[in-house]
Amino acid sequence: MDTLAPVAFDVARIRQDFPILSQPQARGRPLVFLDSGASAQKPRAVIDAMVRCMETAYANVHRGAYRLSELATESYEAARAATARFVHAADPREIVFTRNSTEAMNLVAHSWGRGVMEPGQAVLISELEHHANIVPWQMLRDDKGNELRVCRVTDSGELDMDDLGRKLADGKVGLVALAHMSNVLGTVTPVERIVALAHAHGARVLLDGSQAAVHRSVDVQAIGCDFYCFTGHKLYGPTGIGILWAKLEHLDRMPPFLGGGDMISSVTFEKSEWAPAPAKFEAGTPPIIEAVGLHAAIDYVTAIGMPAIEAHERSLVDHAMGALSEVPGLMLLGRAQDRGGVFAFALDAAHPHDLATLLDRAGIAVRAGRHCAEPLHARFGLENGTTRASFGLYTTKEEIDLLARALTEAREFFR
């Protein structure tokens, strides 16, 4: 995987893999897609794999005593194995397929939070979390009465590690649940340090890898965390499939999340017995075609090489820092040392929604609003929200330059 040097990264060739990037847009302008942080575009390899599955190898999994069902089951389990390799898991049984990261975090909040975590233990999150890593813990708190602590974020948009230490110090935190990379600030959090600190205080660690897993190689064993989740659709795969990785020792102790078929070993009207993990957490017909698509997406990025993708994005980040800092009146939110290709900003002369409408006219797709991180925007006093440009492996420096020029012209438009 580390054999591919960054020089091998040919963005023009990569762009040809994504059919939508060559689709003509309104007014004949090419698509400048800078909203990959919300959901990424899909390469031909993913599209074809899903079509091929439906055309040649589709049936329900884990059920049919016939060849086609066995084929589909093999494909589904191969996707699990590929996902395990992708995050460097010790065992494919540690991979649970969910609907998305949100469901993965709800699964942990429900099954581990209500079934394993000691009563009275606190959950520690941070100010930079996505709502998906806030609301499930609030629901747990409201249900079980346990404390919800919030680690502060510094003015530069980094986790306040001193505050993290302070909030862990009394040993009452059962779980630290944090983003591996902020979907607004781009900040990459120091996960190894966080895990060491949390474990030293007896807390487990869940990492929301929705953004990070797209941008850099993830090794859950090296990080040492207890739970890690990410979602397929941001990784150039389909919607409808997400991943929870958890150490088997945790999964084995956790009660099921949803009940139904496929998650039991026996059912009578008196009592049901649970299947072992991961089946215990995959009630009902799973996202079979989506798993095949995710597998293709993982193969696609792995063939390019996560280190090469990371290097490309690093050069985009450096370029964007330069280009955006030259836009008059632009305030970049977050100046973390370690950051990925997500830039949220406010322009003095324009509201984020007006700005997004203008940029759309220039063919530039960006997101405007609070990006499912309302408390973070409140922390920085940006109740109107921000405009966010987020990069994918197909993003070019020319697109970032166009964004910077369009922002400059948009400012003139509104002044």
């Binding site: 007014r27 324009a350 509201h351 984020p352 929604h353 007006d354 409408t357 203008l358 006219r361 220039a362 405007a368 609003g369 609070r370 309302e374 109740e383 109107n384 929200g385 020029r405 369009a406 012209e409 948009a410 438009f413 509104f414």
Partner: protein, 157 residues
């Protein structure tokens, strides 16, 4: 690259930009007879509307506070100017026509009375080409309905 946004002058006409930058009646009415809050939870736009009535049921004054994009601010500003002197019924009728205008770009009923008032609101008709922005333009009018009906809260979602 000049002209990148020229075709957006239909949406952001000078009168819109002007009202967006310098909203009229942007203040509280401490002696308001009716107030309501309008929220657009998706984008964070929020207005608080104040209406003062005359003894014979006409709108004596209308004012607002809040935050929002140029479209929602300009729409609220134009609305407060337009409804002054109208009865509650006339104001609601204007709101109904305006919503039609914002959603479709035309208003078939607009010839029948209140034509002058609708003319003042016409600069916002361009919003119909931007479905995700229609709610920005209609938030103030939803909020006015809530104030006049005494329901206190409105959402343009």
């Amino acid at each position: 690259m000049s002209g990148l946004f020229d075709d957006l002058r239909d949406l952001y006409q000078e009168v819109i930009l002007d009202h967006g930058r310098k909203p009229r009646n942007f203040r509280r009415l401490e002696d308001a007879d009716a107030t309501a809050r309008g929220d657009n939870p998706m984008c964070g736009d929020r207005i608080e509307l104040f209406v003062k009535m005359t003894p014979d049921g006409h709108i004596a004054d209308a004012a607002f506070q809040g935050r929002g994009c140029a479209i929602s601010t300009a729409s609220a500003s134009l609305m407060t100017e337009t409804v002054k002197g109208k009865t509650a019924e006339e104001a609601k009728e204007l709101g109904a026509r305006f919503r039609e205008l914002a959603m479709t770009g035309t208003c078939p009923d607009c010839g029948a009375g209140l034509a002058e008032e609708m003319e003042r609101l016409a600069p916002l008709s361009g919003v119909h080409e931007f479905p995700s922005r229609v709610k920005c333009a209609t938030l103030a009018w939803h909020t006015l309905n809530a104030a006049l009906d005494g329901t206190k809260e409105a959402s343009s979602e």
